[in-house]
């Protein structure tokens, strides 16, 4: 199968407008005859489900949590980008487009990114109309700030809880449609299979997490908005339940996986402090607007940070990148922190941390201003670490945060399975090899409110869909597969807990496929992961039964999928011999230690086709063409 990205013809700035006009429409009276399943209720899923119901489709919305409002988009702190140019500082659709392509280290599709930049402004209008309480200035207009790696102020925010407010906006739209009957809501359901009939996605199999019942649901199209796979690393800033299962099951049924090795390690998180630790907590990178990153100039300096004089501190980001300073993109900030700790200059009891210091800002702006900007983040830091960041610098370290890779999709956001659409973080599309701050919320909502409802309509209008119900043999087959897996997991009764396996997998991934990667380490991981997977299926201990609420069983299913997926991630990282964005191959760096791309050989999307567990997957390449943004080495000096 050849990959067809279906990018419309014409100049990049007209593609989306012209394409919308060329799409087939479903007659308003006929829309209610179509049904669409949306899995996931984060920004992308909730907005897509609500919008499609508003258009008249019958929507079924699924989430594994007890309420759609829990989806992990809720935890996004910093903000959402939009090319509104309200501050009159030179922003435009073209600049947002340009920054995003460049920030993604030239590994995203120009056409998709341009569409994203065009739609960005509508998102803000939509959210304000829903009653999202964005930050405002004293004149009553919306306030903007500059955010990770941007030289214009285009980020809209709601204190440090932008994700929460945007998600509650999308959730309220979803609830409105549930109340009207356009959306049927299925909470505490975990998707365990996609059902494909005659080459088209026609339904899903889910487990009811309360009763344990396996349910069949059919539809005319299926949308996955199930988030990223950062928890392959065990410790990440993702929620505990975030998982790869939905996308991985779709991959096993024929959806290609795009660029799985592109993972974002966020530079400002609270450092790891013990084995029992279950997750890492992000401190919004908006903190880098007023915080200065430093380490002691001398290795092994164990003095209290407040006792280290100015002259003995190395503000390494300001020194190395004078024009961007502390605001360099995430991948650079993370890698530089690792370099410092590798050189033995790390701080704190583990030596795996650097300082983020607000002393100068507090002096310049006053504690009140700093509190108004970051109060909730400072409180959170104090609750977790037990130290007061108004009095001494924060200790921070990079942590896995976001995954740019995901299921490969064409311009319509449709995967290589007809009728299977993939939205938000779950797809691979708009961020290339590195996502800029405040772009995830923008992409999730662009996909959900504006792109998918249009392209799915086009699919439904131009596709012949047989009437069918869940008694079809493919549903039965998929259900049997799901049941067999559950029975197997419950029958092993080995010696190790699910978490022990997950922790071991995470360590392998962090050591060998983390912030810096090399051939030797990746090859080692390709030996260790299958061995761990074999042990899992022989020696995991999942207690209880399948016919009741069983959280160990839920976790076991997710970890089983991570154990398969992780291998693909490493294979992708091994094959991509260049460094780009969040993927840093030690073999490919400049003399100054910066990431060195190889555009001649790697300016493509790697889309992997599944061939079986432990079997070498097939690589398909989608060549990336750059007409508007000139390929260049990124420089933030």
């Amino acid at each position: 199968m050849t990959l067809d990205s279906k990018i419309p013809e014409g100049p990049v700035k007209d593609k989306w407008t012209n394409y919308k006009f060329s799409m087939k429409l479903v007659n308003p009276a006929n829309k209610r005859k179509f049904s669409v399943i949306v899995v996931g209720t984060g920004l992308a899923g909730a907005s897509a489900a609500a919008t499609m119901a508003e258009l008249g489709y019958n929507v079924k919305s699924f989430c594994f949590q007890d309420s759609p409002r829990r989806a992990h988009s809720i935890a996004a702190q910093g903000g959402v980008n939009a090319a509104k140019n309200y501050p009159n500082d030179g922003d435009s659709v073209h600049r947002l487009f340009y920054d995003t392509v460049k920030g993604g280290d030239f590994r995203a599709r120009e056409a998709n990114v341009h569409r994203l930049a065009e739609i960005s402004a509508n998102i803000i209008d939509q959210c304000v109309a829903q009653g999202v309480p964005f930050a405002r200035d004293y004149g009553g207009l919306l306030d903007n700030r500059s955010f990770g790696g941007a030289q214009v102020s285009r980020t809209f925010y709601a204190r440090g809880q932008t994700g929460q407010q945007l998600l509650l906006g999308a959730y309220s739209a979803l609830m409105k449609e549930v109340g009207k009957g356009g959306v049927t809501l299925y909470t505490r359901r975990e998707m365990l299979e996609v059902v494909i009939i005659d080459g088209k996605a026609r339904g899903i199999i889910v487990r009811n997490l309360i009763t344990g019942e396996i349910e069949r649901h059919e539809a005319d199209a299926v949308c996955l908005a199930t988030g990223g796979y950062g928890n392959a690393f065990y410790l990440s800033t993702n929620a505990m339940g975030s998982n790869v299962s939905a996308t991985w099951r779709a991959h096993k049924k024929g959806a290609y996986f795009g660029n799985p090795c592109y993972t974002q390690i966020h530079p400002t998180c609270i450092p790891v402090h013990g084995d029992y630790q279950s997750k890492l907590t992000l401190m919004s990178e908006s903190l880098r607007n007023d915080g200065r990153v430093w380490v002691p100039k001398t290795k092994g300096d164990t003095r209290h940070p407040n006792e280290i004089p100015e002259a003995e501190r190395d503000y390494y980001l300001e020194r190395k990148y004078p024009s961007f300073g502390n605001l360099v993109p995430r991948d650079l900030a993370s890698r530089n922190a690792k370099q410092q700790t590798d050189e033995g200059k790390g701080v704190g009891s583990t030596g795996l941390a650097v300082y983020l210091d607000f002393a100068e800002s507090i002096k310049r702006l006053g504690e009140d201003v700093v509190r108004a900007r970051y109060g909730n983040l400072f409180d959170m830091y104090e609750r977790i670490s037990g130290t007061n960041p108004y009095k001494e610098p924060m200790a921070i370290y990079p942590a896995v945060h976001y995954t740019m890779g995901g299921l490969w999709v064409d311009y319509n956001l449709m995967s290589t399975i007809n009728g299977l659409f993939v939205l938000g973080e779950a797809n691979f599309s708009d961020h290339g090899a590195n996502r800029l701050g405040a772009s995830a919320l923008m992409q999730g909502l662009a996909d959900g409110y504006f792109v998918a409802p249009a392209t799915i309509g086009n699919y439904l209008a131009e596709t012949t869909l047989e009437k069918l119900d869940t008694s079809h043999k493919e549903f039965e087959k998929s259900e049997n597969e799901v049941q067999a897996r559950i029975d197997k997991l419950l029958s092993i009764r080995g010696e190790k807990t699910v978490d022990e396996f997950h922790r071991e997998l995470g360590q392998i991934m962090w050591d060998n496929c983390g912030m810096a990667r090399n051939e030797k380490g990746l090859k080692e991981a390709l030996v260790k992961i299958p061995a761990l997977r074999d042990e899992f299926w022989r020696n995991v201990n999942v207690l209880g039964s399948g016919d009741s609420l069983n959280q160990s069983l839920e976790k076991a299913g997710r970890v089983a999928d991570f154990l398969e997926f992780a291998e693909l991630m490493v294979q992708d990282a091994l094959h991509r011999k260049e460094s780009c964005g969040g993927h840093f191959r030690e073999e490919s760096q400049t003399d100054e230690g910066e990431a060195l791309r190889d555009d001649e050989n790697f300016a493509y999307v790697a889309a992997w086709e599944y061939n079986g567990v432990g079997v070498e997957p097939t690589l398909h390449k989608e060549k990336l063409e750059y007409e508007h943004v000139k390929l260049a080495q990124r420089s933030y000096k």
Partner: protein, 253 residues
């Protein structure tokens, strides 16, 4: 970093499903790092229990950053435990001392039945929002975001109300199992914003009506909800809601 450790006794509510009567069971939690969160402490206990062939304690949790609203239990009689404005996932073990006995039980209310151990059914909250906790705008066709200026003070107050995470600690804390703080926070958010005005009266009537239907109790000014709220939502919101409710009811006649 291995911090100081604690040895604790846990009295935990165990209940197989909604039909089971449930009971407290006693567990030891030994060598718990003071830097662990409360939920990480339960993780450690659970891992140990699985090793001993006992089914682990079921509890809801997800983001573990204090914002998703999924976690929560009554710890030593207080929803989310002793620390003010802190969810259970953000409560850290340094707040306890070695030798402590900690009682852990689910949020209890007739409208939120226990499903298993510490997990309760909070779907009533979703239904209250479905009744009117939104602005009826469709996607697309909305005016420019800066078309309607909103005084900063109103936007900030609306944010304070909108910060509710829907965890239901307010219900668990209330002697009447009232959900008024939750409902009032949503009502107030929209009452403060121009976008919320067209449906202001209808919204409050519908949401209050659904709240009653779900079986939540009424407010008798105990202020326990505010004390338990991990996001510091003020009871002043309830006053706003009561005033709006009265106005809307009179107008409706």
């Amino acid at each position: 970093m291995a911090g100081k450790t604690l040895n604790l006794t846990l009295k935990v509510w165990r209940q197989k499903d909604a039909n089971d009567t449930g009971r407290f069971e006693i567990y030891r939690a030994n060598d718990i790092d003071v830097n662990a969160s409360f939920l990480e402490m339960i993780d450690v206990v659970n891992d140990q229990m699985v090793k001993e062939g006992k089914e682990p304690i079921a509890f809801d949790h997800d983001c573990r950053e204090g914002v998703c609203g999924m976690c929560g239990a009554v710890v030593n009689g207080q929803p989310h435990g002793i620390q003010e404005e802190t969810t259970l996932c953000q409560l850290h073990m340094r707040k306890f001392s070695t030798g402590d006995t900690i009682v852990v039980e689910p949020f209890r209310a007739r409208a939120m039945p226990v499903m298993r151990d510490l997990i309760v059914d909070r779907s009533a909250f979703d239904r209250v929002i479905q009744a009117g906790g939104f602005v009826s705008v469709r996607t697309g066709g909305t005016p420019d975001a800066n078309a309607i200026p909103i005084p900063k003070i109103d936007a900030d107050k609306a944010f304070d109300a909108a910060a509710c995470i829907g965890c239901a600690a307010c219900v668990a804390a209330c002697p009447n199992a009232s959900a008024m703080l939750f409902v009032a926070a949503k009502v107030t958010q929209f009452a403060l914003l121009p976008q919320g005005q067209p449906e202001r009266q209808e919204r409050v009537l519908k949401m209050v009506s659904q709240m009653d239907t779900e079986g939540f109790g009424n407010c008798s000014n105990e202020y326990q909800c505010e004390a338990a709220c991990p996001k510091g939502i003020s009871v002043a919101n309830i006053a706003v809601m009561n005033r709006d409710f009265l106005k809307a009811s009179l107008k409706k006649g």
